[in-house]
């Protein structure tokens, strides 16, 4: 029990490392989460986010480093003693038990008195709309209902920390959006500290207080959704967040500044940005009738309220995307001029790290 934790940290990871044989799944992970916050572990498959969640749950032992819950060192404790509940990707419902018994499994195992058990079951079932399904077996439920049962089993435990391993990945898109809002509301209402694993950046951005973006066993960026969107720390983070994500373009020295590779006659950044990568949010790029960066439409995707145009720029094969309101599905091959936003994101081509912007950035394009 260390004093340095303070009252602030519901979860604190110190240099957590996990190794399977010669393969390092997690490299020195440091994360701190405030009580009552929803923290999302986000990343592509194989990035170590599920392994990290299992280390938090105690289902896998960390190779080194320590895990603290509310100031208590739980690194060496088994899952049952950690005060966590968990929702598994496959729900892990017991097929031979009915819904009520599935929800009560943990309370029975912990020998909670019958009266309290029943009260908690009634309350939880009502909260999740399961009251009429209590006598069904999991096989008699739809995917969404099974998901609710798994959620109920986690909530009824009233553990301070709730862990979720891609809980919505087996649901259809509409149900997923509903459950997303519902889980977020439940988490806030019950004041749970929730760690939520997903590979879906929309899920992460819409639910999280704090997003931990992971890549190859390392934390790429640990920030709020707004910060992650506004100031991605690396080219990877920039290319992962957003629908569609940020376009990344190589910059080369050109007369009058730095220009997108293959389009030297239209400088878009000051000369010191040459050699770096320029990040452009598609929603900030728009076709214009006035002066702008010339480009050729190579594809268009009409999404209803808006259209995503994929455009080729210059002669070096650089492409960028523009997201514009309304239906503007231009045929491939159409020449357009694009208005670019003020310079906002630069990344190092060598390391992918975010670069500071040149101190006085004049407007280009």
């Amino acid at each position: 029990m260390s004093i340095t934790d303070g009252p602030g940290a519901a979860i604190r990871l110190d240099a957590v490392r996990k190794q399977f044989g010669d393969t390092v799944a997690l490299h020195n992970i440091d994360i701190t989460a405030a009580p009552g916050s929803l923290i999302v572990l986000l990343g592509p498959s194989g990035c170590g986010k599920s392994t990290l969640l299992r280390v938090l749950a105690g289902l896998e032992a960390a190779s080194s480093g320590s895990v603290h819950f509310a100031g208590r060192d739980v690194t060496a404790l088994p899952p049952a003693a950690r005060g966590v509940s968990m929702v598994f990707q496959s729900y892990a419902l017991f097929p031979h038990l009915d819904v009520a018994e599935n929800i009560l499994f943990g309370l029975r195992a912990r020998k909670v008195p019958r009266a309290e058990r029943d009260a908690r079951l009634t309350r939880t079932a009502a909260m999740l709309g399961l009251a009429s399904l209590l006598e069904r077996r999991p096989a008699q439920l739809s995917g969404g209902q099974q998901q609710r049962v798994a959620l109920a089993r986690a909530i009824v435990a009233e553990a301070p920390v709730c862990l979720m391993d891609e809980p919505l990945s087996n649901l259809d898109a509409k149900l997923r959006a509903e459950m997303r809002a519902e889980i977020r509301a439940l988490q806030q209402r019950l004041g749970l500290t929730m760690v939520y694993v997903t590979h879906d950046q929309v899920e992460a951005m819409s639910m999280a207080d704090q997003v931990v973006l992971m890549r190859e066993g390392r934390v790429e960026q640990d920030a709020t959704p707004a910060e992650l969107y506004a100031r991605p720390a690396t080219a990877f983070a920039a290319g992962f967040i957003g629908t569609p994500p940020m376009s990344l373009l190589r910059l080369q020295a050109a007369p009058g500044g730095a220009a997108i590779a293959g389009a030297p006659e239209h400088p878009v950044a000051p000369a010191e940005a040459a050699g770096a990568m320029l990040g452009l949010r598609p929603e900030d790029v728009a076709p214009t009738d006035g002066p702008g960066l010339p480009a050729i439409v190579s594809g268009a995707e009409f999404l209803g309220a808006e259209t995503v145009l994929r455009c080729a720029v210059g002669t070096a094969g650089e492409t960028l995307q523009a997201r514009i309101p309304g239906n503007h599905a231009l045929p491939a091959g159409t020449a357009v001029r694009l208005r670019l936003p003020p310079l906002a994101h630069l990344f190092s081509s060598a390391t992918g790290q975010r670069l500071p912007l040149p101190s006085h950035a004049p407007t280009f394009a």
């Binding site: 289902l59 049952a80 509940s85 968990m86 598994f88 038990l97 943990g106 029975r108 195992a109 435990a157």
Partner: protein, 291 residues
């Protein structure tokens, strides 16, 4: 057109039906028929006697002893072999060194022919220098025991062989069932704070339910069927102490040549097995609706 379809149907049914009729249905009916007639001897042909053979069975003390021996044999071997099979399966399903070798070792008795097994165990049970006497002498200081030669121990000795022979076979089914249980259920149970015993009682055992039922029915049928070692080792002796229904049928039919009486005995055995099968179907129908 209709006649053609019927012909096709009979052609499809033909092969299976031929075999079933020749080797199952006809023998049953013939046995029932023979059990209602006297045994033909020399110049005296068989004549219809009605239930006389069954009445004679009821008056036959050896039949009653064989029946009670058989019930005891079944009640002893079924739970023991199932319990042992489950214990072995749990053991070799765990993370232990030499797991594959252990599995093979446990399964070996199943692949040995019962006649060879019987001869093996004849040596084990040999008074004084047999393996069993050596061990009991070393551990408890017991003197030589004629395990298969005395009335008190003979049936128990036969049951031990049956359990040894069957447990490995049933273990394979349990092992398959254990491996079919998703590991994530155990993880969920451990997060929920369930102890190992609770996990076994509330997760493992119920999920093994259908397998247990299947094994129990097979074990029960084997309890009436698996008698090769008794024929080889004791012939039902001493003084009918190890006589079971099937050995008694063999004795009456092929040593006393009282085929009518043997037919009646066979009908009794068939009736018992039919009841077991009936119980199987009703129970299976009720218990396996999940998954």
């Amino acid at each position: 057109m209709r006649g053609r379809a019927t012909l096709h149907a009979w052609l499809m049914l033909g092969p299976a039906m031929l075999l079933l009729v020749a080797f199952t249905h006809y023998p049953v009916v013939a046995t029932l028929w023979h059990s209602l007639f006297s045994t033909p001897r020399g110049a005296r042909p068989a004549r219809f006697v009605g239930v006389e053979n069954y009445a004679a069975l009821a008056d036959d003390p050896v039949f009653w002893q064989a029946l009670s021996n058989n019930l005891l044999y079944a009640l002893g071997t079924v739970p023991l072999s199932i319990g042992l099979a489950l214990a072995m399966a749990l053991w070799v399903n765990g993370r232990i060194a030499g797991r594959a070798a252990l599995r093979v070792a446990y399964f070996t008795p199943t692949v040995l022919p019962m006649i060879a097994v019987a001869n093996l165990w004849l040596f084990f049970y040999t008074p004084d220098y047999g393996l069993v006497d050596r061990i009991t002498g070393f551990l408890f200081g017991w003197g030589p025991t004629n395990w298969i030669g005395s009335q008190e121990t003979a049936l128990g000795a036969m049951m031990a062989i049956a359990v040894w022979k069957e447990a490995g076979f049933f273990m394979i089914f349990y092992l398959a069932a254990l491996q079919a249980i998703p590991p994530v259920l155990y993880e969920a149970a451990s997060v929920e704070g369930a102890s190992r015993f609770t996990v076994f009682r509330r997760v493992t055992l119920p999920l093994l339910g259908p397998t247990t039922l299947f094994i129990a029915v097979n074990a029960l049928i084997n309890g009436f069927r698996l008698v090769d070692h008794i024929i080889v080792m004791t012939h039902g002796g001493p003084d009918n102490a190890t006589a079971l229904l099937l050995t008694y049928i063999y004795e009456v039919g092929f040593r006393f040549w009282d085929t009518a009486q043997a037919s009646a005995l066979t009908m009794v055995l068939l009736l018992i097995l039919a009841l077991v099968a009936l119980a199987q179907f009703t129970l299976l129908g009720r218990r396996t609706h999940y998954r």
